[in-house]
């Protein structure tokens, strides 16, 4: 994105003067020492944040740093275990999203939730509690047009919301917030799905909110150049902890990256001795899918772990879904052991020896109410059948117990419901399910998400063993140290494009992060 063609009235040099003036205004929303934990993970640990009227406060951090959790607490969707929220200095409790709305706190997400069949103008005004009994269409259209015009957005308010692009939907959400006299606007990765032109428009809108309506804005983004362009202050979170809060002018991009990523490299994640990697078994050429990803090229070798690194929205999962046949690509080719293949369905992919383990184990990966055994054999049931399709239960149980021991799945019995296991153990069940299909190529999507340190180590060692045995693994992960430690090579993606493939020996966390954020470009060598 080119910064030059952003026509904003306040060039960055004025920020310093304005900021001094603004820092004297009392904060409208404060989070003090917020801590929140889910099961095993400590999502937030003593995080404090304050938002001042007319200020754009950026929140940056890696995936899993705690940003989403903080937003959910500020908007009332979740409640903190410890800590306090203050509105204009007074302590408040925000128990649900309606209360947050009443306090003037609104949030805009990557995926807005509008009413697709209602007009844009209606979408803006329909949640208002104080509307009269009768709908005055003329007034509603006029008011909606005014708000959108003030924002500098051109949307036909008379069209139903279903035809809008994401950028337009976001604009409508912002208009909705304005119509309800928002005081604090939280924007969670708003630019992730926008084109450059749309981003410019969004920023114009945001600047207007800041200057004309004195709204306090919390802006979360991975695109550091945007953060620098628009933010007044920047807060860095890492591993659930508050790392720093500084004026925008007081930090540099490199400094930020270091803070976001910086941790001592644990021995835990010690780099392997180089594995011997065999011949190419899987190659992807110019794989593209309209509006999703383009020109993905790589080769996968026997016994290799290829890491897929990138930020949220980089579309790594979409590439995996294309390879696995759930949403096939539009163009490009896939070859397995030199032979061209066409993968139109997951059944074909399985037959070709490809396995895909999803990152969303609750909704896509496991049937929570079924037993561990049934889940493990679900993708490979044909191995357990005798005549007439009867399932050999003892054989199933035997397999399940084997996996239970091999992966150390902590459960009293393999007949237990998968839903009651801990996250780490559920992950192990999912891994077992796919290992049981005896694949040649395994794609793991965030395999250690939401599981504790011990289970992570187990999963890592298992992946290494598999590589040694000759399996080829693609590991999609947002955990940089993990990617670095496990992978032989790392493919970095950003917004559907391939930024480069690096040998992990020569890579550092900063270099990967830079690639992922588009700071630098590496040559693509397969």
């Amino acid at each position: 994105m080119q910064i030059d063609n952003l026509n904003i009235k306040t060039p960055s040099s004025n920020n310093i003067i304005d900021n001094d003036f603004r820092s004297s205004k009392p904060p409208v929303l404060e989070a003090l020492n917020i801590s929140k934990s889910f099961d095993m993970t400590q999502a937030l640990d003593g995080v404090s944040l304050e938002m001042r009227p007319g200020e754009i406060h950026a929140l940056v951090g890696e995936n899993g740093a705690g940003k989403s959790t903080l937003i959910k607490i500020l908007t009332g969707i979740q409640q903190a275990n410890q800590g306090e929220l203050r509105l204009s200095g007074l302590p408040v409790k925000i128990n649900n999203s309606q209360e947050a709305q009443a306090y003037g706190i609104a949030a805009i997400y990557q995926e807005p939730m509008l009413f697709p069949d209602l007009d844009v103008a209606e979408n803006i005004f329909i949640s208002h509690q104080d509307q009269g009994f009768f709908v005055r269409w003329d007034k509603m259209y006029k008011d909606a047009e005014k708000i959108l015009n003030d924002l500098g957005v051109r949307i036909d308010v008379r069209n139903p919301a279903i035809g809008l692009t994401i950028a337009e939907q976001q604009a409508v959400e912002i208009a909705k917030a304005i119509s309800m006299n928002v005081r604090v606007l939280i924007m969670d990765e708003p630019t992730a799905s926008l084109s450059d032109h749309e981003v410019n428009q969004l920023f114009r809108t945001v600047m207007q909110l800041k200057q004309e309506k004195n709204v306090a804005i919390l802006f979360i983004s991975h695109r550091l150049e945007e953060v620098f362009e628009i933010a007044d202050r920047i807060t860095v979170l890492r591993d659930g902890k508050h790392i720093s809060t500084n004026l925008c002018s007081a930090v540099t991009k490199d400094g930020l990256v270091r803070e976001m990523v910086g941790r001592e490299i644990d021995q835990f994640y010690a780099k392997d001795e180089t594995r011997t990697v065999g011949i190419s078994v899987f190659s992807v050429k110019n794989l593209s899918k309209e509006s999703t990803f383009s020109n993905i090229n790589f080769e996968l070798h026997k016994g290799e772990i290829l890491g897929f690194a990138g930020l949220v929205g980089s579309r790594r999962t979409d590439v995996a879904l294309a390879i696995f046949g759930i949403s096939p690509a539009d163009s490009g080719s896939i070859e397995i052991e030199g032979k061209l293949v066409e993968i139109n369905s997951p059944q074909t992919a399985k037959k070709l020896g490809i396995a895909y383990m999803t990152e969303d184990r609750r909704q896509l990966g496991l049937v929570m109410s079924m037993s561990i055994t049934s889940n493990i054999t679900l993708a490979s049931l044909s191995k357990y059948l005798i005549r007439f399709g009867i399932i050999k239960r003892e054989k199933e149980r035997k397999t399940a117990n084997e996996f239970k021991n091999r992966l150390q799945i902590k459960t009293t019995s393999v007949e237990e419901e998968v839903g009651i296991l801990s996250g780490g153990n559920q992950q192990k069940v999912m891994i077992s399910k796919w290992l049981n299909t005896q694949p040649k190529i395994i794609i793991l999507d965030e395999p250690t998400r939401g599981i504790d340190v011990g289970a992570k180590a187990e999963v890592h060692s298992m992946m290494r063993q598999l590589a040694e045995k000759g399996f080829s693994i693609i590991c999609i992960s947002s955990d940089l140290p993990e990617v670095l430690a496990l992978s032989d090579r790392i493919l970095v993606m950003r917004e559907g494009r391939q930024m480069g493939i690096v040998e992990s020996q020569h890579a550092t966390q900063e270099s990967i992060m830079s690639l992922a954020m588009g700071q630098s470009k590496e040559s693509n060598y397969a």
């Binding site: 997951p346 992919a349 109410s369 679900l378 049931l381 007439f388 399932i391």
Partner: protein, 324 residues
């Protein structure tokens, strides 16, 4: 011991309780109730419904619904009548009827599984459509040209005291229990009903499973139509109207969740007994058919209302405990 107690607390346990009460009340009201003759009669009278209900379990477990089954039953019965009337010998005619069922079911399945239209609307449309076709075939008349051996099949004892239709029902029961509890196909049905996406991501061919299901229930509905024709000895254009109510009630009362993925076939077997005995008991008490239908309607609502209330009370008490 605790396993037995756990089973008792479950929905099946609840059904066993109701069943026992029903049997007791019925035997108290009429000494004819427990005779073998009456028992056979009870099943015979409703054999078409309960056979379809067995297979409806598959459909509802799959988180779909099929409202057109009774109309398909009527259609195949009328088709049989028309075919026989025009001189086609019985055996090929029977075969053609079953094929009509398969085609109708596959037609439904195409729109639902491949085109992804909602099953409620498609089968509602076909409820009207199949009945319409039946009326086109038979118009206002009543056809009763069946050979006597055919009518005898429906009513006379075939194996010992049991008529053929009962044998078929028992066979279907065994088949359904077998498929659901012991085969991969049955497990796939559960998984798809539970979460279609997980099934897709696990590489299960959801379209194929659903096509099989709807085609199968089409064939079974056709079979039920044949049995109905055999039992009555005649076919009319308006046979089997509102059988859907009983069928769906049996399935839901048996503990199969309307949302799919949950429930056991054994519960359905219990609910078949309950509904049959309930109707029988009411008949023995000279309660009219209309009231019986009303009772079944109430039963349908209750079978979903009671678990819902349980859940709401449970959630409420959990919330209260959290606050304290």
């Amino acid at each position: 011991m605790s396993i037995i107690l756990k089973k008792l607390k479950s929905w099946e346990g609840f059904l066993v309780l109701i069943l026992i009460c029903t049997i007791l009340v019925n035997s108290f009201n009429s000494e004819a109730f427990l005779t073998l003759n009456n028992q056979i009669n009870v099943f015979e009278l409703s054999v078409e419904k309960i056979i379809i209900a067995l297979f409806m379990v598959f459909i509802i477990l799959n988180a779909e619904i099929d409202l057109s089954v009774a109309s398909m039953m009527g259609l195949s019965a009328c088709a049989l009548g028309v075919l026989v009337e025009s001189g086609i010998p019985m055996i090929p005619a029977l075969g053609l009827c079953l094929m009509i069922g398969a085609l109708g079911g596959a037609f439904n399945g195409f729109w639902i599984a491949v085109f992804k239209l909602p099953s409620l609307v498609v089968t509602l449309a076909m409820l009207i459509g199949f009945r319409g076709l039946a009326r086109v075939l038979v118009e206002d008349r009543s056809i009763s040209v069946f050979p006597s051996w055919f009518e005898a099949l429906g009513q006379q004892p075939f194996l010992g005291p049991f008529p053929l239709s009962l044998i078929i029902f028992l066979g279907c029961t065994v088949f359904v229990v077998f498929v659901l509890q012991y085969t991969a196909f049955g497990r796939y049905v559960y998984v798809i009903g539970n979460n279609q996406k997980v099934a897709l991501y696990a590489g299960i061919n959801v379209v194929r499973v659903q096509m099989y299901l709807f085609t199968a229930i089409g064939v079974i509905s056709a079979l039920a139509g044949i049995l109905f024709a055999a039992r009555l000895g005649a076919v009319r254009g308006d046979m089997g109207v509102s059988f859907e109510l009983d069928i769906i009630t049996i399935v839901l009362l048996g503990g199969i969740s309307i949302f799919g993925g949950k429930g056991s076939i054994y519960g359905v077997i219990l609910s078949i007994l309950i509904v049959l005995y309930l109707r029988n008991g009411m008949s023995l008490m000279n309660v009219t058919g209309h009231i019986q239908t009303g009772v079944i309607g109430a039963l349908l609502i209750l079978s979903v209302l009671i678990p819902n209330l349980q859940k709401m009370i449970y959630d409420y008490s959990r919330q209260r405990r959290k606050r304290l």
